[in-house]
């Protein structure tokens, strides 16, 4: 879509965002460090509790709940955010983006490329941001329809269940191999990294921890698998609500050629959507419920997002830039509708250049 702001207005908008960013950067300190260390401690308590409760078969559901919560916290509020470099300023190797390796089958090194660089730089740019539908789904009207997409809802369901595996295979760009623009050779270097990580994760969750519970091996194994599943479902839903509900826009490569910093900020706001909720919900989503703030400032500590959200929203409203937000159930319903609607070919041919027609009614 074409920006409704002039280049000068975009520059002014960018300057306000830069100023906000600088203010937060200058203010980073003990509170932020204490926060992330507190989250790590809480996550470790939950993990130890979960792993220990597997020794008590009647407490199995509790064990799975604690371990699931621990895995969600670790992937979303710790792993994702630490690997964004949000805490690099602390100089602590444990919380350094170049060192931290999260509890997920996707190797951190590869994730940082596809997520930090590709997805965060080319957010919602069709043909560049491979997070649009993950190369499997049709998530935008501008993706040409093909009978393959009749399975859209089924693929989405499968991706949800096997989300961490989807993320791990994301970098292999399978869709580009099918298309013939990428060869198996290109993937050779990635295979070793993925297999090493998969072996490590499987060793931990499906061999060592079950073995430590002796005769309860099968129960623990199923419990660990369930916790991974819960984490997959949760992460998938939070992430899909971050970019695909009605209101979140996509862009073409031409629109983003030689873009200014202001336009980049503008694109981040329009390409993302927030989820409203309470403090616990925000923590459990790794503050990705503030997807707009995260995309504007991916390297600021996530706990700052709720703090600056009102100001970001105020600035956006002043420039007439749509700030999409809504409660989880509404955003989920919106995403689900979109997944199903886009499984079918577009009903009416798109009027050329008519952005209003593309913009859905909800949100």
């Amino acid at each position: 879509m074409k920006p409704h702001l002039t280049p000068d207005q975009l520059d002014a908008f960018g300057a306000e965002m830069d100023a906000l960013r600088r203010r937060v950067l200058d203010d980073l300190g003990e509170d932020d460090a204490a926060y992330i260390r507190g989250i790590v401690r809480r996550q470790q308590q939950l993990e130890v509790l979960g792993r220990a409760l597997f020794y008590l078969p009647p407490a199995w559901p509790l064990a799975v709940a604690a371990l699931s919560a621990s895995k969600i916290l670790e992937n979303m509020e710790i792993g994702h955010n630490v690997m964004h470099g949000q805490y690099d300023w602390m100089g602590d190797p444990h919380l350094n983006s170049r060192i931290y390796e999260w509890d997920n089958v996707c190797p951190g090194e590869q994730w940082k490329y596809s997520h930090n660089y590709i997805h965060h730089t080319f957010t919602n740019v069709l043909g560049k941001d491979r997070d649009i539908g993950y190369g499997i789904l049709r998530m935008d009207e501008d993706q040409e329809w093909h009978p393959y997409y009749l399975g859209n809802p089924v693929y989405a369901l499968l991706l949800m269940v096997f989300f961490e595996w989807g993320v791990a295979m994301h970098d292999l760009e399978v869709e580009n191999i099918v298309r013939g623009t990428r060869t198996m050779e290109d993937n050779k270097a990635l295979h070793a990294g993925i297999m090493r990580k998969v072996r490590r994760q499987a060793l931990k969750d499906y061999l060592l921890f079950p073995a430590l519970t002796g005769p309860l091996f099968p129960l623990t194994l199923v419990g660990n698998a369930t916790a991974n599943l819960v984490r997959n479902v949760w992460a998938f839903n939070i992430i899909f609500c971050g970019h695909f509900p009605a209101g979140a826009e996509t862009f073409s490569e031409e629109e983003c050629e030689d873009e200014s910093r202001g336009h980049w900020y503008y694109r981040q706001v329009l390409g993302s959507a927030n989820i409203s909720g309470g403090p616990l919900f925000h923590v459990m989503s790794g503050n990705l419920s503030h997807q707009i703030e995260h995309h504007l400032f991916p390297d600021l500590p996530a706990k700052r997002y709720p703090e600056i959200a009102p100001e970001v929203r105020e600035i956006c409203e002043r420039y007439g830039i749509e700030y999409t937000t809504g409660p989880l159930r509404r955003q989920l319903a919106s995403v689900a509708r979109k997944i199903c609607r886009l499984a079918l070919p577009d009903r009416s041919p798109k009027p050329s250049g008519g952005q209003e027609a593309v913009r859905p009614l909800a949100a």
Partner: protein
């Protein structure tokens, strides 16, 4: 103990404790327990000099059992959690105590620089302070075994705090040599700003007096070593194994005097640089051994212009793909305008421009 040790270092333990690692959990129980990392407790702090503005202190450190020991002349990276800022600062310090074995105590002699946050804090540290260490690093070491007598003379030329690695070597020679002797002729030349600023004054006086094969020459203030004096005090110095460490002026003099002699070994220390302007100075790419005149552009662009291909991503300071170690010099963040002069600092080269001379690991 051995079994336990093997266990905590095993891949099984690493898998079970991922993603945080064994050390993280061990340090939760006791900060001095470690499987891989090295930490150390400060057990003693002794003032060496009370020079106004730049006092010097020797800190005795008791490391975790993971410390593998050091060869005389090596340095160690010291990480200090600065109180009040939540930032861990890491700096390199030469070890001044004689060569150590695994888990043995070591000593660092530190001068407080006016704008050195870490050094100032260390000099005024109280026993009990916990530090994060690397293993010993550096090849500015003594290759001869101190326990075997030889006839090859050794020469040390040091200035100011540059005395610390040489002192570690001298102490090692005297500790391990037969009957308290160095076992070969040793000449020890040192320059300090003033007699009051002389580190290890009493110990050096004792070494000079003892019958131990060591000759000590100290100079203070304006009485600096010249090439002429070097010839007089250490005849044939160009053919003598020499270790030199000191301020830039002294190092230049030594380098000139030695020409291309392979016997000279130099160790530089890196105080925080001061900015000299926006597009002045040289940008040096240490790993590829290239040097370009600073154009004022980002380090990333200048590296590309020099024909290097650094790893990159967004090129706008958000993705951290291009993070590179800056060894020395000042850089300005082109987004925030903030300048940073810390040595051995990780910077995002796509949004950092050099301000004056700068060395990066590319």
């Amino acid at each position: 103990m051995v079994v336990l040790d093997r266990l905590v270092r095993s891949r099984t333990a690493a898998a079970l404790t991922s993603p945080h690692g064994v050390d993280h959990y061990l340090s939760r129980i006791n900060p001095m327990w470690a499987a891989h990392e090295v930490r150390a407790r400060v057990v003693d702090v002794r003032r060496e000099t009370d020079t106004p503005g730049a006092p010097v202190a020797t800190l005795t450190l008791r490391p975790t059992a993971t410390w593998r020991g050091h060869r005389a002349g090596q340095y160690v990276q010291v990480g200090l959690d600065l109180p009040g800022s939540a930032r861990r600062m890491t700096r390199c310090f030469s070890i001044s105590s004689p060569a150590s074995g695994a888990g043995e105590e070591i000593a660092l002699t530190v001068r407080a620089h006016a704008d050195g946050q870490v050094s100032k804090h260390l000099v005024d540290a109280a026993p009990g302070l916990l530090l994060h260490l690397s293993q010993a690093e550096g090849s500015f070491t003594l290759p001869v075994s101190p326990a075997t007598p030889g006839i090859d003379p050794l020469l040390f030329i040091t200035g100011g705090s540059g005395i610390t690695p040489a002192m570690s070597m001298l102490r090692t020679l005297l500790r391990d040599g037969y009957d308290g002797r160095a076992g070969r002729p040793v000449t020890f030349l040192h320059h300090a700003r003033s007699p009051e600023d002389q580190i290890y004054a009493a110990e050096l006086a004792r070494i000079a007096e003892d019958d131990n094969d060591v000759t000590v020459h100290l100079r203070h203030g304006d009485a600096r070593f010249s090439e002429l004096e070097l010839r007089r005090l250490a005849p044939g110095f160009r053919d003598t194994d020499t270790w030199a460490c000191g301020p830039a002026g002294m190092m230049e003099l030594v380098r000139a005097a030695y020409g291309d002699s392979p016997r000279l070994r130099l160790e530089h220390f890196k105080p925080p640089a001061t900015a000299t302007g926006s597009a002045e100075g040289d940008l040096r790419f240490a790993r590829s051994d290239r040097r370009v005149a600073n154009s004022g552009a980002s380090i990333f662009e200048q590296a590309e212009d020099a024909g290097l291909s650094p790893v990159f991503g967004c090129r706008m300071g958000i993705c951290f793909s291009c993070t590179t170690r800056k060894a020395e010099g000042t850089v300005r963040n082109v987004l925030s305008g903030a300048e940073s002069s810390l040595p051995d600092e990780d910077i995002q080269i796509c949004v950092s421009a050099p301000a004056g001379d700068c060395v990066v690991d590319l």
